[in-house]
């Protein structure tokens, strides 16, 4: 059988005994039992609070070759990952595998630890900045493994990522390890990714700058999971953790895309009372929520839930009664962080509840509509959100492939070209989300519906929408920018892209 990613995966990859190729979205199922952490006991009177990171590293029994994890709820404001890695390097450890839920630009300083052999494996959703460039230029011996948010949760539950020690920054914790995303110094909202690590790591170390009186409830991470608590001066930069007020885009191109995406939703057949949706945090994505609100108002339609990636526009709709529930794995801005404290139906969910394909049903399975972005999308509707048009890693897999596969309607919103870089291309550099899970592409120059969705083609015709084909959009892009030269790669594989079910959907090679 041929699929949309045919011919991308080599016969052998360093570090893989056998390669399970991606075939189709739900072909590979789970086997066996869940992995579990070590059984442990903390007796009455015992103390979990340690002096500093160094003591935590010693007590946790870190050894060369172990796997440690972090979360990215502090986004570009995170101090914890770098703080812990600097200490580990200083103490002379080598050959450490790191399994952060993702890495942002603030983590590019980890490059020094890769260069010195402290870090030899990276499992993550994304990488950015100088570290990403160095990886694309072949600095690491072992390929980085890129997983989606749901895929990471699955891999941890399946024991494919075995976390020896999780170092989890938390805005507040009591001395027994009840931790929360609200603290007196910092506030990060949901701790949805960190909760999976706390559940499955053999040793859990919480790092906080707000040690509060027992009991710190309600808690996102509970005391029964936590070995140690360390108080530090600061876990992160407030400004980087949660961006300020989200401003609506004024970019006419983005507004046009958003307006068209909204029309697609309204006419798709999924827009009815009790529907559900997810949008990203990009300009067009946020604007879709705004246009959708007007439609919901005028047609008297309410949403049962919104999922994500929660942002201010969703919070507004929730508080105005247009969305009953918000399910939140990651809270993007300060208003949303306050909402999760204030609003009882703004629920924190962990990454497995969000999008793990191998459990008894994640929330993404119940999702009607998802709006997603793309760095590139090709004429097979494959989407790339990880490598730039120069072939260099610069993004993250995120929940892209998870929600595209699990939802009933996945819509990609993207400009036809960005500067001289075409977004709609004949073949994407890297496949994160396979074309068979992508339903509609909305650009400012037209809308393309995946030919597999004959039902949608039927429902969206004669609705005054600028419907065209993806081939036509690709040609339009070429007419504007010319034909880019194909990127030259060496044979060395610098990253392996796992699909959410653990099969391999693509590899990223070293750029020449």
């Amino acid at each position: 059988m041929t699929n949309s990613v045919e011919g991308r995966i080599p016969d052998s990859i360093k570090g893989y005994e056998e390669i399970r190729n991606y075939l189709e979205p739900f072909e590979k199922g789970p086997t066996g039992r869940k992995a579990g952490p070590l059984l442990k006991q903390v007796k009455p009177g015992e103390n979990k609070v340690l002096e500093n990171i160094e003591e935590a590293i010693i007590k946790s029994g870190l050894k060369d070759g172990m796997t440690i994890s972090f979360h990215h709820h502090f986004r570009n404001g995170d101090y914890v990952t770098n703080m812990v890695m600097n200490k580990i390097a200083e103490m002379g450890f080598k050959n450490i595998s790191i399994a952060p839920s993702s890495l942002t630009t603030v983590h590019e300083v980890l490059l020094t630890h890769v260069e010195s052999g402290v870090i030899t494996n990276i499992y993550t959703s994304g990488v950015r900045g100088k570290l990403a460039e160095a990886i694309s230029n072949g600095i690491m011996e072992n390929p980085v493994v890129i997983r989606s948010h749901g895929g990471r949760g699955r891999a941890i539950e399946a024991g494919e990522i075995k976390i020896d020690i999780a170092f989890l920054g938390v805005p507040s914790s009591d001395e027994y390890g009840n931790a929360s995303g609200r603290g007196s110094k910092t506030i990060c909202g949901s701790l949805g990714y960190a909760r999976v690590d706390a559940e499955y790591a053999d040793t859990v170390v919480l790092v906080t700058d707000d040690l509060v009186a027992y009991p710190n409830f309600p808690a996102s991470i509970s005391q029964t999971k936590v070995d140690y608590v360390v108080k530090v001066d600061s876990i992160g930069d407030v400004k980087g953790i949660a961006s300020g007020a989200t401003r609506y885009t004024k970019n006419p191109k983005e507004l046009l895309i958003a307006q068209n995406a909204c029309k697609v939703i309204v006419n798709s057949g999924y827009f009815k009372n009790g529907f559900s949706f997810q949008t990203g945090s990009g300009g067009s994505s946020l604007a879709v929520t705004r246009f959708l609100k007007e439609e919901m108002k005028s047609k008297g339609v309410k949403a049962a839930f919104a999922l994500g990636g929660i942002t201010k526009p969703m919070v507004e709709l929730h508080e105005e009664g247009f969305i009953d529930n918000l399910f939140d794995t990651q809270t993007f801005d300060i208003d949303s962080c306050q909402s999760i404290i204030r609003n009882p139906n703004h629920h924190e969910i962990d990454a497995c509840m969000y999008a793990n394909p191998h459990n008894k049903g994640c929330i993404a399975n119940k999702l009607d509509v998802v709006i997603l972005s793309a760095l590139e999308i090709d004429t097979d509707f494959n989407v790339n959100v990880i490598t730039g048009s120069d072939g260099v890693i610069r993004g993250a897999s995120g929940g892209h492939s998870d929600t595209a596969a699990a939802s009933s309607l996945s819509i990609i919103v993207a400009p036809l070209v960005r500067g001289r870089i075409p977004t709609v291309v004949d073949r994407v550099n890297t496949v994160i989300t396979p074309g068979e899970t992508v339903d509609v592409l909305v650009t400012e120059r037209g809308i393309a519906i995946n030919p597999r969705r004959t039902d949608l083609i039927e429902r969206l015709k004669d609705k005054g929408l600028p419907i065209t084909t993806v081939e036509e959009l690709s040609n339009m892009a070429k007419d504007i920018v010319g034909k880019p030269k194909t990127i030259q790669y060496t044979d060395k594989i610098v990253a392996v892209v796992e699909y959410r079910d653990g099969s391999i959907i693509d590899v990223i090679r070293q750029v020449k």
Binding site: S389, D390, G391, R418, G419, R420, I421, I480, V481, G482, P484, K485, I487, Q488, V511
Partner: protein, 100 residues
Amino acid sequence: MKMKIVKTGMSGTMESSDINIVIEKGHEAGIKIHLQSSVEKQFGAQIKSVILETLGEMKVNDVVVRAVDRGALDCTIRARVQSAVMRAVKKENDMDWGIL
């Protein structure tokens, strides 16, 4: 008309989707292009060929071109090269539209 370079001519900005072009008199024969581009890998050769072509049409020779590109389209590159040349030959207020 003879296109004699009398001073350094500059045109364009460092904004996204623009290209900044500086044209100087060359000390050697021929055209030398120093290009920096955010899309070098994909479009470097194309940008150079548009610059060369534009200079050729204007019969400009023996110059050094310094170009800093931020993803400009071909039409933008052509326009920026033309105005940089007109400034370098001090004809920007006395355009000979026939040669453009």
